[in-house]
Amino acid sequence: MNRLLSFLFHQGVLDEQFLQLQQLQDETSPNFVSEVVNIYFHESEKLLRNLRALLMERELMDYKKMGIDLNQLMGSSSSIGAKRVTNVCVAFRVATEQNNRVGCFRALEMLEHEYCYLKNKLHELFQIEQQRDLAAGVRYPVQN
């Protein structure tokens, strides 16, 4: 395990589910992890935009709709092992259940922050892996 990955585990950014994803990657599916993670990024950004829009409502806030979006985000975050993001979703959901507007705002800020951090770190991780694979390719060129 490289240093960045163990750092992310240590910080609780990722949990063992991420390792599980790596176990699912092999020669038949060599880019599995990055494929799933990219789908996750795409979906999460949509959900985060929804959540921000819902929170911007001046009048009646649709806490129920927020809860639905949060459940989706929570589910997919836990499926890729994004532990801190998942935890913030849980706290956010509690705030929606309490119709706590301020709490929701705070939670969304934290969620956006954690998500950005996760995205940056995972991009970094994929880059490191790519470099390593390229380097290995140079030393051991593929025979056709």
Binding site: Q20, Q23, L24, I39, G75, S76, S79
Partner: protein
């Protein structure tokens, strides 16, 4: 349905012989509205040597099985889809996994016999109980792991072997073939049509209850 039954019976011996050729993959139908989860469960199943069909909703699952009521499911018969296991998410928009489970268990046909497993990220005891009461084979907490899939597969295959052996013993009483190896029996749910009406395959087995207990 009686005519269809005859066709099944005459083709069953062929199927039992065919299954020696080694295509003994479990066919799993997975249902989840989350694209991320669909990708993961598909990979989990493929890496466990299962044939996989993934759909995004309960409606699509019923369509795939031919149970959506729009088509004529009685004509599907032997050429229809053979599914050995259904894994469905609990919380889905429209029809939930729980409602899908109920629908499948209400079928008075071979479909009712297909084991259904519920997946959920919520560890809610009442939810788990409800699902098991409706006949769910198991209740998996998300995120689903390789070990969960492995355990499930073993359980399903053991159940199939037990019933398959009972059938093949009945049918091969005078045959010269040696007793079938565990993997040589068919995994098709079609075998249930040839069983006496009181099917031996019970949805709730000791291992299910203990796996539920171990999760608490």
């Amino acid at each position: 349905m009686a005519a269809a039954g005859e066709i099944f019976r005459s083709n069953l011996t062929e199927l039992l012989e065919e299954s020696h050729s080694g295509d003994n993959e479990l066919h799993v139908l997975a249902v989840d509205d989350s694209l991320v989860d669909r990708k993961v469960i598909e990979r989990l199943l493929k890496i466990s040597s299962c044939k996989v069909t993934v759909v995004e909703s309960a409606r699509r699952a019923l369509q795939f099985l031919g149970l959506d009521g729009d088509g004529e499911n009685s004509d599907i018969g032997f050429d229809g889809v053979k599914v050995n296991l259904i894994m469905t998410d609990y919380s889905m928009p429209g029809m939930t996994g729980y409602e899908l489970l109920k629908k499948i268990k209400q079928e008075s046909s071979v479909f009712r016999e297909i084991p259904v497993v519920i997946m959920s990220s919520e560890n809610v005891l009442t939810r788990i109980d409800r699902c098991l009461e409706e006949g769910a084979e198991d209740f998996l907490l998300k995120p689903v792991k390789l070990s969960d899939v492995r355990r499930l597969k073993e359980f399903i295959m053991r159940g199939e072997v037990k019933d398959g052996e009972k059938n093949s013993l009945k049918r091969r009483r005078s045959s010269d073939d040696c007793s079938p190896s565990p993997l040589s029996t068919t995994f098709s749910p079609m075998r249930h049509l040839c069983d006496p009406p009181s099917s031996v395959f019970s949805p709730l087995s000791p291992s299910t209850l203990s796996s539920k207990k171990s999760r608490l």
